[in-house]
Amino acid sequence: MIDVAGVSFGFMLMIVLMIIGLPVAISLFFTAFIGAWALLGTPTLLGFGNSMWSGQNDFILTAIPLFVFLGEILVRSGVANGLYSCLSDWLRLLPGGLLHSNIGASAAFAAVSGSSVATAATIGTVALPILRQRKYDDRITTGSIAAGATLGILIPPSINMIIYGSMTNTSIGQLFAAGVVPGILLTLVFMAFIIGVSILKPHLAGERLPARPWSDRFASLVDVLPPLVIFTIVMGTIYLGWATPTESAAIGVVCALAVTVLKGRFSFNLLHEAMHSTVRISAMILLILVGAHFLNFVIGLIGVPQALTQLVANMGAGPTEILLLLIVFYLVLGCFMETLSMMIATLPVVFPLIAHLGIDPVWFGIFLVVMMEIGLITPPVGMNLYVVQGVRGSGSIMDVISGTTPFVLLMLAFIGWLMIWPNMALWLPHQLFAQ
């Protein structure tokens, strides 16, 4: 029904609307609106109300505000305090010392809070003064925080994976499981890089801190318990088949509240602030999803997936070529779009191609999330870069960019590794869901 030229026009229109500063959600909405009006006529437009209701009255997506709420409560209960000091107690003896605490604390905090920008801001504010005082090189310090903060969207529970799963009908439980091994491996790759650099160029890592006595180290482990227990309960109930991801998020919220009460931190003020944040963040995501849902619907009706798969078939491109093309595509797009919007806006077009090529949807979800992580720290719009620089408050943004560049290269190499060894992502879900 629509040819490739029409598809390209639609895509350009969407990009132009975004560039002139319309909210991403509204850009998606208008692209769909214009497409439907021009090609399908008013009845499709008038059916928007019912389609919006069925898109929003969706128990799977209810996991989004629940996980956001869980994170907001937990972060406000002060778990981050314990996390950072515990990790610094345990990791300070490795070459590179506190840099490892940056990576570890950022990864854990981001997994809990679900926001990599919040992580970069929070861990940055705590860690920068300490590392500066110990004469660590600013570039590697800021690089480790900006890169570490991206790990959270790969480590479950991840909002990005819930959205991906719901948009593509992929099992969210399997996606969560698929993120575990790559999440741990990428963390280890970052740490190995820091160890390597610190051995080769010891002046970059600052003074070593004295080791803490073992009794203190074990005592500090208590602080890691709340997030760890909640993580185990949330993931455990999914894998035991006791709960769906949405239900496990609900249990997580109740556990997070229990932690707040046990730590003596509960107050209605805290609860209300967590609610406001949750509603603000979720509504932002959900409005983008309203636009994407509408666009997805229109794109399906006018035959965009068919036009593109036809094009790919004519080009004779195989899965590897298309994936390489997508890496370039997402690197470029990631240079000016916020990553979550980037994923939501492109999935309706990209996913049918992936399915057509026979690429595993769970594996592709992990691939996409790693590409999004890269987008978070590539200039000119990599938000983490600016936030860390803003917290740092002096010097040039170029220091942060050059400190982050090695991590970007590591992540690109990691994407290659993931392509050569797909079981890195798929092994765990196959073990857990082997029926």
């Binding site: 500063g21 319309l22 909210p23 959600a25 509204i26 909405f29 609106f33 059916g47 109300g49 019912n50 919006m52 209701w53 929003q56 009255n57 969706d58 128990f59 997506l61 209810t62 505000p65 629940l66 972060v75 002060g78 305090n81 950072y84 926001s115 919040a118 801001a121 929070t122 504010t125 705590v126 300490i130 006791w242 709960a243 949405t246 239900e247 609900a250 249990i251 919220v253 109740v254 609860l271 209300h272 609610m275 406001h276 949750t278 603000r280 963040i281 979720s282 509504a283 932002m284 959900l286 409005l287 309203v290 000016f336 779009m337 916020e338 000119p380 719009v381 936030v387 803003g390 917290v391």
Partner: protein, 199 residues
Amino acid sequence: MHTSNPVARVFLPVARALSLIAGYGLLGLALLVTVEILSRRFLNLSLQGGDEFGGYVLAILAAFGFTYALLERAHTRVEILLERVSGNTQAMLNAISAISIAFAACFMAWRAYAALMESIEYGALSGTPLMTPLWQPQSVWLFGLIVFAIVSTAIAVHSAQLLVRDRQSLNQYYGVKSLAEIIEEETVLTDELATEAAK
């Protein structure tokens, strides 16, 4: 809430109240679902309705939250051009953005109203054991969308006025957030963390 923006001064309290209602709905849902799972698991008692209620909570939270996110300037925008053009151009783009949001919001409310009328006309029920008449959750949902339409229209009109009279305020009220604002908003419990980490 310290803002000199007259539109925000009027509507922000309303939006925050709606946001709290949605927040308590979410809390109620979390408790309900937890009880459901525990009783299913340990009492062999199958309660029903958590998933249905969860869907309504999501739709209503979205509708109620759109306004709050709008007033807090939380709806994601691509900043790459906005940051690089003159104040006047910026003001014009911000006004266009505000008007486009109002248009989309009014369209949503209008079509949601049609969907509600349809549910009433056909006596539509949820396809679940509870057989909830759909007009009930849909009315609350529509209410949220109408508020969103009203507030976004007020913002669009205000932006158009400011475009003529006071572009600087236009950019300040309805432009993208500055880095300092983002960092202030996103940093959680910093003082406490800092003292803890310095030990």
